[in-house]
């Protein structure tokens, strides 16, 4: 087994064993506390530029299967774990995690005291890290010199529109780094989907005569995307039912005058209770958050707070007072994650249905 190093921008180095790609890699380091769903997590475009630490001690035991891709080409920068499992590949597991990471040029490192690392990360936000062969001064210099792009969305989102046909409601998805789970949930509801680049204008979208519009999840800081998108959202929300997810939720909030802040500690996992305020009911959902809506910045005459995270108090859902437009910070597509969150899609489709009938 090859020894490699995980080095952090605070100067620490961890010795571990290489798996996956032998490449040298750098990115922001984040941790995810999910017990299951490593394949979905690694392939989610929100992890563009990021090295993911899994707190669950062993990943890889169920290999990699065709049902669990969240994007075709994963863009995560690395995987850190205590143990990676070997598996035999067969018809359900066409690849092992090790093979998969090699194919996609993503390095992994195992044998790390991930608990110690996470205890550090929960107080040192936004550290960068590299997985390298030698943890020498040069490696640290390289790490410290690295400038990560803030144009993640343009790197993972589709450059041109495409259709995912169905026989039901006509839904346009603005792609900010779409994960497949969103399309899967729409397909289950037989929606006729058109995915468009996030730069598409409001007019072009409305010309598709949508019954509803989804602002997809995606990587990075929503403030890096420019004002035009906010104007587009402002126009769309008055015309067609709209659902924002993740980054899309943050953009919806920005478009309606709220501000976004970077969280003191990024939260990634699926075990926080989320309260739906209107019914006072609690549910669980996958979350992957580095940014959040600033509660004090919300204009209550314009937006209703619909969901909050009961652990960290973060805003998890918003709704426009005057239009059928709402958004959730968490991932309602449940890929991976608890299934009760998929209700959000039922709510959305129902809303588009009602508007559809009124046309």
């Amino acid at each position: 087994m090859t020894e490699r190093y995980l080095i952090l921008s605070d100067g620490t180095a961890y010795k571990g064993q290489a798996f996956g790609s032998p490449a040298t890699t750098s990115g922001t380091i984040v941790f995810n506390t999910s017990v299951t769903g490593y394949q979905e997590i690694i392939t989610d475009p929100i992890y563009h530029n990021q090295i993911i630490v899994f707190t669950t001690p062993t990943i890889g035991a169920v290999g990699v299967n065709h049902e669990s891709y969240e994007s075709i080409l994963p863009t995560a920068k690395g995987v850190v774990v205590r143990e990676v499992a070997e598996v035999s590949t067969n018809r359900q597991r066409s690849l092992s995690l090790d093979q998969f990471l090699r194919v996609h040029n993503i390095p992994g490192i195992s044998g790390i005291d991930t608990r110690q690392l996470v205890r550090k990360l929960r107080t040192h936000n936004g550290l960068n890290a590299s997985i390298v062969d030698v943890a020498d001064e040069h490696a640290f210099d390289q790490l410290n010199a690295i400038v990560l792009t803030n144009q993640q969305v343009s790197q993972v989102a589709t450059p041109r529109p495409y259709a995912n046909p169905g026989m039901g409601h006509n839904i346009v998805v603005m792609d900010f780094g779409l994960k497949s789970g969103i399309l899967r949930e729409l397909a289950v509801r037989d929606a006729n989907v058109t995915v468009v680049p996030y730069t598409t204008t409001a007019d072009d979208i409305l010309n598709l005569d949508p019954d509803g519009i989804i602002l997809s999840s995606g990587p990075g800081d929503p403030r890096d995307l420019g004002k035009d998108i906010l104007t587009t959202i402002k126009t769309l929300e008055t015309r067609v039912p709209l659902l924002g997810i993740g980054l899309g939720h943050e953009l919806f909030a920005l478009a309606n005058g709220a501000t976004i802040q970077r969280l003191p500690v990024a939260h990634q996992g699926m075990n926080h209770p989320i309260r739906e305020i209107i019914t006072n009911q609690i549910m669980y959902a996958a979350q992957a958050e580095e940014y959040g809506v600033d509660r004090d910045s919300i204009n209550r005459d314009q937006l209703l707070i619909t969901h909050i995270d009961l652990i960290d108090g973060s805003i998890q859902g918003l709704r426009h007072r005057d239009y059928p437009a709402f958004s959730v910070q968490f991932f309602p597509d449940a890929a991976p994650g608890p299934w009760e969150a998929t209700q959000v899609f039922d709510d959305f489709i129902e809303l588009t249905g009602i508007r559809g009938e009124q046309h």
Binding site: I277, I278, T279, T306, R319, R321, P324, D346, D347
Partner: protein, 178 residues
């Protein structure tokens, strides 16, 4: 035979959506009054009020409308007593009234209800929210907020159950003798 067409979860979601739509339509809830049609409409109105309270921390008055003796589901029946509103702590004059019923069928109950509301005062507007619209209208009445459209045959019956009186939340279609 009974067939469940709306389960507890779906009923809750429908009421949630209706609540949001009421906020949307009325641009806020400042001047709102809910009037539930007895028996189950009252509970549904209470639930909508409770949702509004959760969201806005404001208590919206809920009144009860008694239409006993007034049978909507039997053709050609005329009301034997007049519908009457009770338990309403506020006047309806200049209020935005939302009438809440479980099932919208011929529309006759709603007409009677509107008469009763008008007797009490002069509301700014009257909207209608129903959990189920089963079709077969006999009057030009249309719901503004609909939980679920369930097309039915004349000989079918819609049974709405609410936890408060029936021990469960559900909408069932009853066919044949029950």
């Amino acid at each position: 035979m009974a067939k469940e067409v709306v389960d507890a979860m779906a009923m809750q979601r429908a009421l949630t959506r209706i609540t949001y739509e009421i906020i949307e339509r009325n641009r806020g809830i400042g001047n709102l009054v809910l009037i539930g049609v007895k028996t189950r409409g009252v509970y549904l109105a209470d639930r909508i009020a409770s949702r509004l309270h959760q969201l806005e921390d404001t208590v919206v008055p809920v009144g009860q409308l008694d239409v006993s003796g007034y049978r909507d589901d039997i053709a050609n029946s005329e009301p034997t007593t007049k519908a009457a509103i009770s338990n309403l702590s506020t006047s309806v004059t200049d209020k935005k009234v939302v009438l809440v019923d479980d099932v919208l069928f011929t529309g006759r109950t709603i007409r009677a209800a509107m008469d009763a509301i008008m007797d009490l005062g002069r509301p700014n507007s009257i909207n209608l929210a129903v959990l189920v619209d089963r079709g077969h209208r006999e009057l030009p009445i249309r719901a503004d907020f609909v939980g679920k459209n369930i097309p039915t045959a004349q000989n079918e019956r819609i049974q709405v159950s609410v936890n408060e009186v029936d021990g469960k939340d559900s909408v069932e279609i009853i066919t044949g003798k029950d």
